[in-house]
Symmetry: C2
Subunit: 324 residues, 2 copies
């Protein structure tokens, strides 16, 4: 059972405050491009390199904003979350910047490279079964025992505001974007970015990219009702979460559209990014390019930002076979 606390969507002021709060700790990530990829897409592509963010994923922004939003008293009791990987590592890193404990509940079957990141950052691992119920139960138990503050991976306004700082940077780095494509799992990144674009009155449209095998956000936003019965089956381990309740509400209100790509297309896109941009990204990052390449007509001649969301790939399990 998830107990929802009151939720207020982040404003542009919240996102600007987040940017100031995380500035001493987070990196301003570079934007890369490639003529070859532009040629393939028939569009001008700008890749925002969040896999070069601290911890190897954009998640550090939201986690860092949440950690530094706490009062000293709250902070002293630490933070807790459940996360299959990048958010857990990000929260552990963020907690370390403030010298407070981070309890990370991880389900069985998480990617080894991501667990190693959590431990390296000093996170305290709590293992549990790979169901949402088991994760939430373990999380609640840790909260009770420690008084730690829950920092949800995506259904959290502070987290969304942190992720939205990507857009503040990107529109500074690249003027006149027509669209920004971001991977969508639980919807924290999309929610923050949509809020930022709205707040900036930007002409750029936000588009979510989702694995076809975990397309609950796609279905939810089309049907106008949160679809929760999708059993995720995708190589994109960072995008298996169900879209969050506030995320669904926010993205619906902003009329954010979701496009999808199957895993073969995503792995082929990942390979393209490795080969052309020379950037080692994880599958969850590649779904944005894959979905864009599947809809070339729609993006023809446009200036498109794509968020490379993370680079914590298990190099022992590079799944290129399906892509060639």
């Amino acid at each position: 059972m998830m107990i929802m606390t009151e939720f207020t969507a982040p404003t542009i002021a919240d996102i600007r405050a987040a940017a100031a709060r995380i500035a001493p700790h987070a990196r301003v990530t570079p934007v890369l491009g490639s003529r070859e990829l532009d040629d393939r897409a028939g569009a001008k592509l700008f890749f925002k390199c969040e896999h070069l963010q601290r911890g190897g994923a954009f998640k550090f922004r939201g986690a860092c904003n949440a950690v530094w939003s706490l009062s000293d008293d709250e902070a002293s009791r630490g933070v807790v979350t459940h996360s299959s990987g990048n958010h857990g590592a990000a929260l552990a890193l963020a907690a370390a910047t403030r010298g407070i404990p981070a309890h990370i509940v991880v389900p069985e079957g998480a990617v080894a490279a991501k667990l190693a990141n959590i431990e390296r950052a000093g996170g305290i691992l709590h293992r549990c079964a790979a169901t949402l119920a088991a994760r939430e139960e373990t999380c609640a138990k840790v909260q009770q025992e420690t008084g730690a503050t829950l920092v949800h991976p995506y259904a959290d306004a502070r987290v969304m505001a942190g992720q939205g700082t990507i857009v503040l940077e990107l529109v500074q780095q690249v003027p006149d974007l027509d669209a920004i494509v971001v991977p969508i799992g639980g919807g924290g990144l999309a929610s923050g970015c949509a809020s930022a674009l709205r707040g900036l009155a930007s002409g750029a449209r936000l588009i979510g990219a989702e694995p076809a095998g975990a397309d609950d956000a796609y279905q939810s936003l089309r049907q106008g009702v949160r679809v929760t019965d999708v059993v995720p089956h995708t190589v994109c381990d960072g995008l298996r979460a169900t879209i969050g309740v506030p995320n669904f509400a926010l993205l619906s209100e902003h009329h954010v559209e979701v496009i999808t790509a199957n895993d073969d297309a995503t792995l082929a896109a990942m390979r393209l990014v490795w080969a052309e941009l020379k950037q080692t990204i994880e599958p969850s990052s590649a779904v944005a390019l894959a979905a864009l390449l599947a809809q070339r007509k729609r993006f023809a001649g446009k200036r498109v930002g794509l968020v490379l969301s993370g680079g914590n790939v298990d190099l022992d399990a590079i799944p290129f076979d399906g892509a060639t």
Copy 2:
């Protein structure tokens, strides 16, 4: 038979002129770092990202300088080279910036990803057997037939001067370096960088890093005589060349030292760069980090630049098995 033309080592003025000549075409590549890699090395490491150079390797600098050093008359007859890969692609790209033909003689067995780069850049491929004699013969034939100018991959002062521009950038980007470690094959990169450091009266030492299985430069510089009977056996396909005659002379005069790494260490270092820097580099790039990590004491507490020389790796043949 190789006919040596008169050779004058590049001066700092030549290298500055090269920088101006290539500026409209080449990229100023970024410098990346990682706390994790610093911790492992016990030193502060600055990775100069030449795998993000046009064509995916530093070779574009030298090729571009050579192409734009030609008179209009010379240029109109095109350029020719023999190269197993990155230099060939770089010369084709450079020729394209001037709208002139590039004839690239490639030996059998070259890396597929590199051949594809050459063709993509519009290079005219001439295949030959995988011996130096066959390459030089084919090259000479093309020269006779076309009047094209030979741009040797490393035994060429214009090429060296172009490669030396890396140092001009790096010392601007990172002050107070104690050392710069560069991969060494034929010695063009090392020659250019050594000349630049000498010309700048920099306190940083240039150190070559070479595969233990192709350590002719290491042996040559230790013995004071150019060793040409090493049969290369290494995964570093870009570093199998024998050190060039002028390169040997120049590096001897500058007292450049070479350190080595075996292929297992190089593949492990490549994996580290992929995992920690999220940069897709080729094995030839990783030998610098591998050799440094094998000599931690020597570099302890130092500020060290490392040139990530290229990123044209064949993703179908990622040789991680030996490294884990």
